[in-house]
């Protein structure tokens, strides 16, 4: 794909002027890093606050066309408890195919609209596919209203709350996985307390006309730096968060991908989602393979596609995400192994450039998540 055919999002010029290194990503020209470099960007986000442009992701409203609950309709394709979402609450869920494989993961938010409309964010590489699956299967019940004219910024890190609260004090009152409309610099924006770094923080949906000015305003803060997609990947990997299409794909079930937490309790009892028979059987009996965290023993990173071997050298699995974790100061990876090898501490080997390197199965997240969860009162 040549640069000419790549799509540009509203903050493109701002990235170029900030020295962002623009690369093709899911058909868009997006910044992979800035002059600070991936390592320092990563550490800055964990220490202070990082600003990410994730406008390539798909944002949409999903509305009912028959006065029903659009979340109830989505539950036909997704295994999460969505119909129970109260206004302002959000949830990670999965778009499943008929075999129970994961087409994509997505964030579903119940808006405060009287018609129970949902605000949904899907992965950039999957958006056309996701929208067409939903329209094909649920077209008589819901309509998708794409928000392509909105930028999506993420402000992540321990300083994110205090910095965003300078613009709108009420954002401090949001807990993890809550979302509301907030006026920022005179513009009504959707602010959601979530992210993809393991840190506390927000995602901010901004009308494209206002997006650059708002990003520049945030960047004037001493503690805010642009963070590119490179550090976004190392941050999410340290936090043990899956990358759609890599750590799971259309063949992988939620149980295999270690995403049991997205399966609603009542949904499990009912089994009323695509691939229900397979997924319930895997819940009862265990899946044949499982996504696990992996800590290589040495300093050599094992990248996506590296084979995993047992201690006798038999190939048993594959690395699906891997690289260097700047906060860990060491390589980290995730990959699939047979159930017998999935216990924490199991010795395995990673085949890197033809050589077996010692590694251990390890708990994720590698770096503790620091979400601001609601206190149980």
């Amino acid at each position: 794909m040549t640069d000419e055919t790549l799509l540009k999002r509203p903050l493109y010029d701002l990235h170029v002027s900030a020295g962002g290194k623009m690369v093709p990503f899911a058909g868009y020209s997006m910044p992979v890093q800035y002059p600070l470099g991936i390592m320092k960007e990563h550490l800055h986000c964990r220490e202070k606050a990082g600003l990410f442009d994730v406008s390539h992701m798909g944002q949409c409203y999903i509305r009912s066309v028959n006065a029903g609950d659009p979340a109830k309709a989505l539950e036909k394709l997704m295994p999460g408890a969505l119909a129970v979402l109260k206004p302002g609450k959000m949830r990670l869920t999965l778009l499943l195919n008929d075999e129970g494989g994961i087409e994509d993961d997505l964030m579903v938010t119940r808006t405060f609209d009287a018609d129970e409309t949902l605000y949904v964010v899907v992965n950039a590489a999957c958006k056309d596919k996701d929208y067409s699956i939903i329209e094909d299967k649920l077209g008589s019940q819901v309509v998708i209203e794409r928000l392509d004219e909105h930028a999506l910024l993420a402000l992540q890190g321990p300083q994110a709350e205090s910095i965003l609260a300078e613009f709108a004090p009420e954002v401090a009152g949001l807990s993890f996985m809550e979302s509301t409309m907030v006026t920022l610099e005179g513009t009504i924006c959707r602010v959601s307390r979530c992210g993809y770094t393991g840190e506390d923080g927000y995602e901010i949906s901004v009308p494209q006309e206002e997006a650059s000015a708002f990003a520049e305003r945030l960047l004037r803060h001493d503690d805010v730096e642009w963070i590119g997609l490179g550090a976004r990947d190392s941050l999410r990997l340290e936090a043990g968060l899956c990358l759609s299409g890599h750590d799971f794909n259309a063949d992988t079930s939620p149980v295999e991908a270690n995403l049991n937490f997205v399966l609603g309790k009542k949904r499990r009892e009912a089994g009323d989602f695509p691939g229900g028979a397979r997924i319930l059987a895997e819940l009862a009996n265990g899946a044949l393979k499982k996504l696990v965290g992996i800590l290589p023993g040495g300093r050599a990173p094992a990248r996506e596609g590296a084979e995993i071997a047992d201690m006798d050298g038999n190939i048993i699995g594959i690395v699906t995400s891997g690289g260097f974790g700047p906060t860990m100061g060491a390589p980290v990876a995730m990959g699939y192994v047979p159930a017998d090898f999935a216990a924490d501490g199991t010795d395995i080997q990673l085949i890197v450039r033809g050589k077996p390197l010692p590694a251990k199965v390890a708990k994720t997240p590698f770096v503790a998540q620091r979400y601001k969860r609601k206190k149980i009162s």
Partner: protein
Amino acid sequence: MLKFTEDHEWLNIEDGVATVGITDHAQNALGDIVFVELPEVSADFNKGDDAAVVESVKAASEVYAPISGTITEINTVLEGKPDNVNSSPMDDGWFFKMTVADASELESFMDETAYGEYVAGLE
């Protein structure tokens, strides 16, 4: 005698032994280097063989043997301090030393001025 290749490696040739590393342009393009895999001492390479690997946070890249020869020494400091390649690519960040099996292979390389112009032409 300092020489540069189009693959952004440098060679400093003294007494028939070439010290090899990657250039400032190369380290800058790779970004933060987190791991360097070096060849074995006494390994033989032909010009263009994969001799070492340099890994940034994002990706792994091969370092080629710029000439044919035998490895005489490796910079073991890089095993613990791979970021020396970023901070001092032309000095502390050297990768390995190798014999010059065929001096004619050096003829096509650039001197510092020519390499500077070559890099300027890429940007």
